[in-house]
């Protein structure tokens, strides 16, 4: 039992740190989004709270905490309260298997940087969690008892079910190449610029488009299309319940970026041999360097997500479905076949 206590303690400390990283990251991406959108639209953006408006997201969160929480009379109270919790919980649960760096060796004990980065189902776990994430939005739409919310919820579930298929199929290429579901194995296998994006350009493109659809980000943000649906599934939410949906959206964006980084861009692998820094495998310095590399890569993709949102107009709903079922799905099956042939010949 003593062993169990230590395992639980280690996991709790890691979970606490990762939770803070995720929430701070979400706050940072909200700030980034506002600043980048301002730059794209030739505005200044937030510049009142703190230097360069850096504290704006925190001010927003405090504001949300103090707002009145309004629940519609006709709403299903239980699910109305549960939906944002599911959304945010699922978005954060994914980080249980994401490795932030390799490992730190202290007194001969290896500490992996991630709660469970080495489980042999890490990859499938993320897919499973994203597929469960639909419930948050669907239930929010249904329980509000509002036609706009319901339409938003239905659209989002249809969209996520459709794009999950091509997303999962496009990732099979990566699994075929690395022959493992463990995220650490997939990252280790990409050392020295052997990034999967070079071997899997088609799969990467399909995954990127599907990731936009899965996170309900523009140009696929049909579930919350303002001109037609007011606010979509979160129309009837206020206060911190709305804040949780908001945080979940940004956490999901960060998750997708982290997933793209891990699977296609070498994860925490440094862009040059570790010997150049003069650091040993397992030292704290190297782990810090890897962590920084990972964060920079994730940050670049978060920036990309934001850039796309403020550059490309929203799709029409039938265009979205056509793209998912008639273009991406056949392409992802083609990608699986091509990759299998390639693996058969070269391995």
């Amino acid at each position: 039992m003593e062993n169990l206590g230590w395992i639980l303690l280690e996991a709790s400390i890691k979970a606490f740190v990762i939770l803070n990283i995720v929430l701070l990251g979400a706050a940072a991406s909200v700030y980034l989004e506002r600043k980048v959108s301002a730059a794209i639209q030739d505005r200044i953006g937030p510049n009142r709270v703190g230097p360069f408006g850096i504290l704006q997201p925190f001010a927003d969160v405090f504001k949300l905490f103090f707002k009145e929480d309004i629940v519609p009379q006709a709403a299903d109270k239980l699910f109305h309260a549960l939906a944002p919790v599911i959304s945010l919980g699922v978005a954060i649960a994914v980080y249980a298997v994401i490795p932030f760096a390799h490992y730190v060796e202290i007194n001969g004990v290896k500490y992996y940087l991630g709660i469970a980065p080495d489980v042999n189902i890490g990859f499938l776990f993320i897919l499973a969690m994203t597929s469960v994430g639909v419930y948050g939005i669907t239930l929010a739409g249904w329980s509000s008892n509002n036609k706009y919310s319901l339409m938003g919820g239905l659209r989002s579930s249809a969209q996520m079910i459709s794009y999950e298929l091509s997303m999962g199929l496009s990732l099979i290429g990566v699994v075929l190449i690395s022959s493992s579901f463990s995220l650490n194995d997939i990252v280790l296998q990409q050392s020295g610029w052997k990034w999967n994006v070079f071997l899997q350009p088609l799969g990467f493109l399909i995954f990127l488009v599907s990731a936009f659809a899965e996170t309900n980000r523009a140009p696929f943000d049909l579930p919350e299309a303002e001109p037609e649906l007011v606010g979509g599934y979160n129309t009837e939410y206020s206060g911190m319940k709305f804040g949780m949906f908001f945080l979940a959206e940004y956490a999901n964006m960060a998750t997708s970026s982290a997933f793209i980084t891990l699977l296609y861009f070498g994860g925490w692998q440094l862009p040059f041999p570790a010997e150049w820094l003069g650091l040993q495998e397992g030292s704290i310095g190297l782990a810090l360097a890897q962590f920084t590399t990972f964060m920079i890569k994730v940050g670049i993709f978060v920036l990309f997500f934001i850039w796309v949102r403020w550059s490309i107009p929203r799709f029409r709903y039938d265009q979205l479905m056509n793209l998912g079922w008639k273009v991406l799905l056949p392409l992802s099956i083609l990608n699986v076949i091509l990759t299998s042939i390639g693996v058969l010949i070269f391995k």
Binding site: N120, S131, V132, L139, L154, S157, E164
Partner: protein
């Protein structure tokens, strides 16, 4: 006390509780969500048996795909609380209760007479349930069954497309 045993008790209590909620509530959405919770608990039980792949597939396929479709349909039909349950006991109801009770007694009798050995949980070094092992046995020992399921699924997909396309043809 083993860690697996500890989790087994928590998960099985929650699994049974959510299963009871699934069949006892009259609210379709509540019932569906309770079933989702039940699937999660089952997945947790698979994890205590070191069957990670089965656990994740349970969530991915049942909770993530099938139940989403069920919830989707319930919401589209806008079903609310079902008021049409008969409160009075008819002959059919009574017969059903008697049969279910007999079956329940039979199951309990069978379990009591089993004298189950206290099984030990598989150690964490066992790898008989990893994806590689499952894949290998699917494509060697069980290839006929695997292909038969593939055929069945293909037929089901073609049937679904035909049903959906009937109006367009």
């Amino acid at each position: 006390m083993n860690i697996s045993y500890f989790f087994f008790i928590i998960l099985s209590v929650l699994a049974v509780a959510s299963a009871i909620v699934t069949i006892s509530t009259k609210h379709p959405i509540r019932s569906a969500i309770a079933l989702v919770v039940h699937f999660f608990m089952l997945a947790g039980l698979y994890l205590t048996l070191n069957a990670q792949f089965v656990a994740v597939m349970q969530i991915l396929v049942y909770a993530g795909a099938i139940m989403v479709l069920v919830v989707f349909v319930i919401m589209l039909l806008n079903l609310s609380k079902d008021q049409s349950f008969e409160k009075k006991i008819t002959f059919n109801n009574f017969g059903g209760i008697v049969l279910a009770g007999t079956f329940g007694l039979a199951v309990i009798y069978a379990f009591i007479n089993l004298h189950p050995e206290p099984t030990s949980f598989p150690s964490h070094n066992l790898n008989f349930t990893t994806v590689q092992v499952i894949g290998r046995s699917l494509f060697t020992n069980y290839i006929v069954q695997f292909e038969a399921i593939g055929l069945l699924l293909t037929a089901a997909i073609i049937g679904a497309v035909l049903l959906a396309k009937r109006k367009l043809m």
